[in-house]
């Protein structure tokens, strides 16, 4: 990869990503959106993030895309703690502890 090629990718992705982020904030700022649009937007995060995470949990690249017990159990603990406590930091802490505990128990590395 030449330096020029790398810089082109960085600049194009930078501009493209910024335009995506600015899109609605910039274009229709201040205008009221209709109720049906608001109703759909309420489900934006729960529609995107679970789908983004699912393959990372089930098929982690660190294990060659195969199911891996330490990562799978860490994911389940994180989600369960988050669901029960609604506390993000508790979920991250216990999920991380599960991950390291399981890696140590399984002697994965």
């Amino acid at each position: 990869m030449s330096a020029g090629y790398i810089w082109t990718i960085i600049i194009v992705l930078g501009i493209g990503t910024y335009l995506i982020r600015f899109s609605f904030l910039g274009l229709i700022g201040g205008k009221d959106l209709p109720e049906w649009a608001l109703r759909h937007l309420r489900y934006t995060a729960v529609a995107v993030l679970p789908g983004l995470v699912a393959p990372l949990v089930l098929w982690p690249a660190a294990n060659g895309g195969e199911v891996e017990p330490a990562r799978l159990s860490a994911a389940l603990v994180t989600f369960a703690v988050g669901l029960l406590t609604r506390n993000v930091i508790a979920a991250i802490t216990l999920g991380g502890a599960t991950l390291f505990g399981m890696i140590w128990l399984l002697g994965a590395y």
């Binding site: 790398i6 990503t17 700022g29 529609a47 993030l49 993000v88 979920a91």
Partner: protein
């Protein structure tokens, strides 16, 4: 409570953004390590993190560049990963759209998954907040996370290969996202939307250019909205 001084909403946001350091730091570190291994110079890696400013898309682009994918595929895939931010932008514009243009331009630059998630939760829980309280909260939530993304990338470049595999840095991202998602399961409609998103994303994962995730997200969003309409109808009859 509504008379709380405006400054305090900055610090409320700051405290809510703080836990994400546990995630952003390992993620940034990992990017620094991986980009350096892929042959990026330190300056290029730092520029990548500060100009593009989107972890998942940066990793996707890096992965494809290492595989010598064509230029257009690299750009299209990385931008497809970021398309969810158009929905964040639309969703935030409901609450922050009346801010002056230069503030909206700045909000857009730091509109990342974490700042979006904590802000939208707060805005929906406390709809009485004034515009300026919302803006302060948003920038508060961003303050601990965003500069540290760039600092952590630099640390990753510097540490390079010395980070051991057992640290499992790769899994910081899924754990962060799961911790954000779980408290969002407020209603049946939210849960159904999440399940649809997971199932479709897995089933459609073979589609090129990350299109599977986009299709899954659009369908899940529509289904969530429809379930809400149906539940409201049942509640009123």
């Amino acid at each position: 409570m509504t008379d709380a001084p405006q400054k305090s909403y900055y610090w409320i946001g700051f405290r809510e953004g703080l836990p994400f350091l546990l995630v952003v730091v390992p993620f940034g570190l990992l990017f620094g390590v991986v980009a350096t291994e892929a042959g990026f110079t330190g300056v290029q890696t730092m520029a990548f993190s500060s100009v593009v400013f989107a972890g998942a898309a940066q990793f996707a682009a890096l992965h494809l560049m290492a595989e010598d994918a064509p230029f257009l595929i690299i750009v299209a895939t990385a931008l497809a990963v970021n398309l969810r931010m158009a929905m964040y932008s639309a969703s935030l514009s409901v609450w922050l759209g009346k801010a002056p243009l230069w503030k909206r331009a700045l909000i857009a630059y730091v509109n990342v998954d974490q700042s979006y998630a904590v802000s939208i939760n707060r805005f929906e829980d406390e709809p009485h907040l004034t515009l300026s309280q919302r803006i302060r909260f948003f920038f508060g939530a961003v303050t601990p996370v965003c500069p540290m993304w760039i600092v952590a990338t630099g640390l990753g470049i510097w540490l390079g290969d010395t980070i051991p595999d057992w640290m499992a840095l790769d899994f910081a991202v899924p754990i962060c996202f799961l911790a954000i998602i779980a408290p969002m399961m407020r209603t049946l409609a939210h849960m159904i939307a999440a399940v649809i998103s997971i199932v479709l994303a897995l089933v459609l994962s073979g589609l090129p250019y990350n299109l599977g995730l986009l299709v899954a997200a659009v369908v899940a969003m529509i289904v969530g909205a429809q379930v809400e309409v149906m539940m409201n109808r049942r509640a009123t009859t």
